[in-house]
Symmetry: C2
Subunit: 209 residues, 2 copies
């Protein structure tokens, strides 16, 4: 009865069907693992299937093709990250405090989700963005705009006037913390305990200077 309700909510009226053994999130989890290990090139349809023990048909049942799979794994990761990132950016009325929270969030989230963070260090282009469907491209654009607007608002709160000022704020609250993460993830070492402190300090220096 509860299952039925769930199916109705999802739009599946009529009769019930065989429950999935390999659902979308399971396949995406495997794709994340593969991408973290060997980069986007390692995310092949057959590798994902093999990673979860599924036949290739099941992968194609969930995703229209490799471009769709790459788009979904990239977008899910970015959107999961952004969820907390926007919250951090709005966590304080003082823009300096908000910037510090944003910087800490990037480092803390990457420490908690190292494999997904490894994905963020690539770009949508590396995940075949040029071949994505219009819907996937639109999702990516929407996320991109949201970040741009949020950082732009922060820059205004900080008294930024020129495009250079805005770019400096972007570097401070996005690129510098990400660089810190990249430095350790690429080096194979874990993020040290003080990484959040260092990120916050660098961000503050950039916002001030």
């Amino acid at each position: 009865m509860e299952k039925a309700l769930q199916y109705i909510l999802e739009g599946t009226l009529q009769n019930m069907a065989r429950p999935p053994l390999f659902d979308m999130s399971l396949l995406l989890d495997a794709a994340v693992r593969l991408a973290a290990e060997a980069g986007p090139a390692g995310v092949t349809m057959s590798a994902v299937a093999a990673a979860v023990g599924a036949p290739s048909g099941s992968v194609y049942h969930r995703f229209a093709g490799r471009p769709a799979l790459l788009a979904e794994v990239w977008l899910r990761t970015v959107e999961r990250f952004q969820e907390g990132y926007f919250a951090a950016l709005r966590s304080a009325p003082d823009p300096h405090a908000a910037g510090a929270a944003a910087a800490r969030h990037i480092v803390a989230w990457s420490r908690a989700h190292p494999e997904e963070a490894a994905l963020l260090l690539y770009g949508a282009r590396d995940f075949g963005r040029d071949g994505w469907s219009a819907e996937h491209a639109e999702r990516a654009d929407r996320g991109h705009r949201r970040v741009r607007d949020a950082v732009g608002a922060l820059a205004r709160d900080l008294g930024a006037h020129t495009p250079q000022d805005t770019e400096r704020v972007s570097l401070a609250v996005i690129d510098v913390p990400l660089s810190l993460v990249r430095r350790h993830l690429r080096g194979g070492t874990e993020l040290p305990e003080h990484a959040e402190d260092l990120a916050e300090r660098c961000t503050a220096a950039l916002l001030a200077g």
Copy 2:
């Protein structure tokens, strides 16, 4: 006669042979172009051959295989970049001035060599470093150590004591300027005129703070 001298200097004694139509640097140039367009995955042996109109045999005559080609294109690019980078780091006795020069060099070099700069935004791992020969791995290690030592020396001149201080200096003179380049190269826009100024300013803020 001059050719003979050149051959002798290169160690080719004995008889002269057919001059190459597709030499190593020509093939590497094509590989750089391909990597800038489609990432390391786009650098296939057949794509490089097709890009210069050579038969695949000529590519294999120069490179033992795809891992060797990827290693050479990566190492040549990194070493070309480092050449000027070390000079900039040593261009002034004052460490703040040296850091500023280093930051400006990263941006200026990337503007002058956008395709090679696009390579630098990846990592050796993306170019298959795990499968490189011992010689190629050693070349990569040597370059890595030289950078580490040079930045470490700069950090000492700046009075850095803790590992965090050194890491902050690395961020200032390497990662922040690179992030600025990445931001524009990935966005498809050219580096603006003021990019060097912005990089220098950000680096100075990080070195101070």
